[in-house]
Symmetry: C2
């Protein structure tokens, strides 16, 4: 009997997991490798950072998701390189051979060459990032309550978010809700609602991925939430004490204890390793440029999907980094890998079916774009709630998230506002 | 008008928080100081360590609990000493003056002079301890799946719990449930139910705080769960590789990757600081010996409650360290402090009303002792569930815990099994 073909999937985000699940009845030996033991529902990560949800509500153990899938093995391990000659994935502590490889390791925060900004302005990519940001936000209010110095207090109560994509806008809205609602009775020396919440955006409008009229609606919603937005403004330096900006009014330094990076991402470091191993070209953001069937043109048995892939066939712009795209690409690979195993070429290229995209800003406020339909306000907000609830991985988590959203909505409370990971003994 | 008397409460565990809440209508200026921003429902901490509950389900922000209590201020800060002459509490970064002081800082793990055991066998006292232990338990299974070496695999699948009080027994039962139920389909190279789970106890029976017949029932329940119990056995060394024991059969080394300390506690370091500042005597476990009204005999305006207090009036043994005792002591202080403020002596001493105690071992298995009534099995288990659910601090958490218990019970799943706090970037 012939040996089953070995498919190795690196990364269990939206793309990798969708591929693994789609292949559940395919005649392959599948190995899913991730350096974390959980799949993360990243669109709700900002709610962990702002104390609404617990990490476990948006993270599911990969093993649990795939445990009944007999043809699939899960490895917790860190991939450090690829050996395409011997068809092996190189882990920090071992090797895993493959016949076909799916790389779906996504993106990391990009500080545009200023990696020392990272410690002062963490990004929001993992559970640990989210609990760190939660700690910084809450600690800033705590320290402001303790200080007797007005200048310090102002710095502690200034929150700067760099970037006005969905994550930046969602974070700003949530911090505003914390300051104006959640904490309004909690302190005796400070008034949390005097906090200044500032979004810095390089482009001339927020939410640039959406139509200009939705940017405008978003801006109005942010203003109602007392969030300041500085457009056409560039970050020139970030330090422990604050952030230096250059905008239409010239240069200024904004003293701020809490800075959060939501500005830009670039391909994970494994993209470069893959390029080195295969000679495949990368775009300027480090993403692998893929063929219409998501393979590398030079290696028809290596596929790149999700945020790490640059797919631009029949499009002016490459597809953006969005969960639905990664998932559709993962599912596409089922047919494609079965064809590949039979030695066939792709019978049809990957095509993205755009179901629209949305971003929430605050209570009752969201923007959504579905084809030519543009929505904002309460309808978009309800749609956002509904879609996100549906897509959460487990039924149990759906229930828990619903309870916590209901609680937060009606009581204005955010109960998961814990300061953990402390260095105290 | 006379200045209101300032009451400072150090520690917002069961004792400190009960005192603060009881004083909500008293004519005092109250300050609650804790180095964490949350009150922890410690009896369920082992369920965080074993992936049933999320940290936020058993931790509530102290500020939130006390936000409507106008006479009370909450400070996040680390108390490092007491100055009883000037009546000030010394923080790492400031001072807080008091007229009456309540010290309720509890206990820490006691390694009996072997503090280097701590890194190899962490105890279970804080959220960070719980997520660290969760990480160790889950990582051991992950590493066992990856290794090709039988000796390593056996060491990785051996879990040793030092101590057989309620926490030790609860942890052992939960790890057994993980191995036999939760993970049973999750791995391809190992069979999780081959894991060895071992409790080491110095005394000649487990659960020594309970009657001998309940120890016997507990032992039977543990055996049904495939938990091994070594009684009359002493730990002589703990290292990264395992644990060295001396028991009735002589000395042996048990190779084990995961060791958990549930053996003994001693008073928090502030007990010694308080003794230095006041000259008050401590017992051999570092607890402050208190007068019948919970004050220090030398300082009638300083009260010690909860696990940090040694209260032995009218008793052969000092009161043990249990949440209900700390809470009753906290509530007792309301009347006592009001009397103290009027310059009166205590009209009646503190008296503990014993509502019984219980420990859960596993599915359907628990032991309970209420006065002369002794219970075990499913009735005790249901009682345990009910009592713990009632005492959780917030309604929201009660609901979330109920959902998650139901889920875990019916599906055998433990969804919060995340490996976080990783050192990976």
């Amino acid at each position: 009997m012939e040996r089953k073909k070995r498919i190795v999937i690196v990364g269990a985000g939206f793309g990798g997991l969708a591929a693994a699940k789609a292949l559940r009845r395919s005649p392959f030996d599948i190995t899913v490798i991730d350096r974390r033991n959980y799949h993360l529902f990243q669109p709700l990560l900002y709610q962990v950072a702002t104390g609404v949800l617990s990490p476990a509500n948006i993270a599911s153990p990969i093993r649990g998701i795939l445990s009944r899938q007999k043809n699939t093995r899960v490895l917790l391990g860190e991939v450090i390189d690829f050996d395409c000659k011997n068809q092996e994935v190189i882990l920090a502590d071992g090797k895993v051979p493959y016949d076909a490889l799916v790389v779906a390791t996504g993106v990391v925060n990009n500080y545009f060459g200023n990696d020392h900004w990272r410690e002062h302005a963490p990004g929001l990519k993992s559970i640990d990032d989210a609990t760190e940001i939660r700690k910084r936000i809450l600690s800033a209010f705590e320290k402001a309550e303790r200080t007797n110095n007005d200048v310090d207090r102002k710095r502690l109560l200034t929150f700067v978010i760099i970037g006005s994509g969905p994550t930046g806008v969602e974070l700003a809205g949530a911090i505003s809700d914390i300051a104006h609602n959640t904490l309004r009775r909690d302190f005796r020396s400070i008034n949390p609602s005097t906090a200044r919440i500032l979004i810095v955006e390089m482009a001339d409008r927020p939410l640039t991925a959406y139509a200009p009229e939705l940017s405008q609606k978003g801006l109005q919603a942010l203003h109602r939430l007392h969030v300041e937005v500085k457009v056409s403004t560039k970050v020139v330096d970030i330090s422990a004490d604050g952030i230096r900006l250059v905008g239409p009014q010239g240069e200024e330094f904004v003293p701020s204890a809490t800075k959060i990076w939501a500005a830009g991402v670039s391909a994970s470091a494994l993209g470069q390793k893959l390029a080195n191993a295969t000679g495949a070209p990368l775009d300027q953001r480090g993403r692998a440029i893929v063929a219409p069937d998501l393979s590398l043109p030079s290696h028809p048995n290596i596929f790149v999907i999700g945020d790490l892939a640059n797919f631009s066939h029949g499009r002016q712009q490459p597809l953006p980094g969005l969960a639905p795209i990664a998932m559709q690409q993962g599912r596409y690979l089922k047919r494609r890998l079965e064809e590949w195993a039979r030695g066939e070429k792709a019978s049809k290229p990957f095509r993205y079916f755009d179901k629209g995209s949305m971003a929430v800003i605050g209570r009752y406020a969201a923007v959504a774009e579905v084809g030519k339909l543009k929505m904002s306000g309460i309808l978009a907000w309800l749609g956002w709630l509904f879609i996100h609830l549906i897509y959460i991985t487990q039924f149990r988590n759906r229930l828990l998230v619903l309870v916590q959203w209901g609680w937060t909505f009606f009581t204005l409370d955010r109960s998961a506002r814990l300061i953990t990971n402390d260095d105290q003994t």
